[in-house]
């Protein structure tokens, strides 16, 4: 409908949308602002908005206290690693479900999703014992294994929905053209599914990055990601809002920035087949 929208209407829309958007964003904004204040300014009454003396002191303190970069690096390795491995396992499965569907394909998919409903606390002790047995406690490998497994159903489902949108004809054409299974998947299917895969990768990195139960419980120091880093700031001695804010900002900034830069891809794919 390309009918004119009056400028007034547009202005009203803009006003409402920006207000709502800023309200939703406000907690993050406030956290970031607070992280640049001194502790006293952070809890000043009435709250100080922008006219305070910006300081990096909190960041320095936080960095002194815990090795941010190691946690950061662990987060990167664990989230990217588990996502890529998950992808490698899920692509074949999604191919099979999307292009050679059987009577039970849907049931299989639903079963996979239902494994995600296992409450993690219910199985923590067994997993802990197993990890201890196999020397996986506090290792990146151990966390990658767990996160791969928990996110696998989501990856399979997402890929499945993208693959289903790819016309079977094209894969059949490849087959007629003499492509084997490997060529069919690697030369034809995957390049066509790039947007969907990008979105899958992004979403899973986010989920893995923010996963706080297993990462906290299965690590101590060496493999601890940012979720463990932030755990040392919950309820510290006294309420250090500014330091808490600095630590929070450091924990969420990487993924927030990544999310913003890739939001187009993320949004485009984030529909789980809900949108045809």
């Amino acid at each position: 409908m390309a009918r004119k929208v009056s400028t007034r209407r547009k202005a009203v829309n803009t006003g409402i949308a920006w207000t709502v958007g800023l309200l939703i964003f406000f907690p993050i904004l406030w956290t970031v602002l607070t992280s640049f204040k001194t502790e006293a300014q952070a809890i000043a009454d009435p709250p100080i908005w922008f006219n305070f003396h910006w300081t990096l002191e909190n960041y320095v303190t936080v960095q002194e206290r815990s090795n941010y970069f190691r946690h950061f690096w662990n987060s990167v390795v664990i989230s990217v690693g588990s996502t890529l491995i998950g992808l490698a396992i899920a692509v074949p499965a999604a191919w099979a479900m999307a292009f050679v569907p059987g009577k039970r394909t849907k049931d299989l998919l639903m079963w996979m999703l239902s494994t995600k409903m296992l409450p993690p606390v219910g199985v923590l002790v067994p997993i802990y014992l197993l990890f201890q047995r196999f020397g996986l406690l506090d290792t990146q490998v151990g966390l990658i294994i767990v996160l791969t497994l928990i996110n696998l159903p989501i990856i399979v489902w997402m890929l499945y929905t993208y693959f289903r949108e790819i016309p079977v004809d094209i894969l059949e054409a490849a087959r007629m053209d003499g492509a084997g299974l490997k060529d069919e998947v690697i030369s034809v299917l995957l390049p066509m599914a790039v947007p969907g895969m990008a979105s899958t990768v992004l979403l899973n990195i986010i989920l893995a990055w923010n996963e706080a139960f297993w990462t906290l419980n299965l690590t101590a120091a060496k493999a601890a990601p940012l979720t463990a880093f932030i755990a040392s700031y919950s309820s510290p001695e006294g309420l250090f809002y500014a330091k808490l804010s600095a630590a929070s900002t450091m924990a969420i900034a990487p993924i927030l920035i990544m999310g913003w830069f890739s939001q187009k891809q993320l949004v485009r794919g984030l529909t789980f087949g809900a949108v045809k």
Binding site: E172, A173, M176, D177, G180, S187, P191
Partner: protein, 334 residues
Amino acid sequence: MGRITLDKVTKSFGEVQVIPPLDLTIDDGEFVVFVGPSGCGKSTLLRLIAGLEDITSGQIRIDREDATHVPPAKRGLAMVFQSYALYPHMSVRKNIAFPLKMAKMDAAERDKRVDYAASVLNLTDYLDRRPGQLSGGQRQRVAIGRAIVREPAAFLFDEPLSNLDAALRVNMRLEISELHNTLKTTMVYVTHDQVEAMTMADKIVVLHAGRIEQVGSPLELYHTPRNTFVAGFIGSPKMNLIEGPEAAKHAAHTIGIRPEHLDTSAEAGTWEGRVGVSEHLGSDTFFHVHDTGLAETLTVRASGEVALRHGDRIFLTPQMDKLHRFDAEGLRIA
């Protein structure tokens, strides 16, 4: 080089048998068209030949060799899909070269063949575009290009023109016919449009509910349809099929007369009726005649213009030598 034989081939999806036992031979170099209404099994049959579906029983031979269990890639056939099925992420050149690459042909030879195919199909200027940047007709040509570079034993086409608009369809129809004249390779072509079938085929296979109703040249089908189904399906506008007492007069259960074989007159004739909707094409006029005392509305085709208006009275006389007679099973009475 391109002889395809189907021997008691059947296909069932689960419980449903969509192709009952079927025998068919496609000779080398022939242009064979499968035609039939939607859902009659044309695509299924083509896909069985391609190897994209397993046959349930029977045998498929290509050039006398049993191909029943040969995977699609090894049958030496090329297929053009209704949706074109181009690889959207590859340039036209890469699309066309893909089968050669899969065959591990070396790059120089590959380029030569692609360039040749592109020149045949007038695609040389578009080799570096992506399929998304092409018009429908151009995409269609790329799909054909991808098929011809392989120099297959036979081409399989599944409704390749149905996504094009009317004018383009006419053009591409000609191009494919000319391609067949040039290459002389076996072509198996699926369509539901009888005009396409008539204009392109050496041999038409009329399918109905998975069964072959008739096999023959276009004019054989036009002149001597084996049964009422073929009679009604081939020819445009459709043959008028008349049952009841009027048919009995000709010792038949059903008689058929094509719209172009009905003579009109303002004064006298076999049937008298009233003109309904008429369609003026300039070159021809189709008009529909009601209230002739027959149960059926009759369609008449007249050359050029006819000055008839809605509601006018008219007399129709069938050309007796062009009358078709069918028995109660619908089979032609010789």
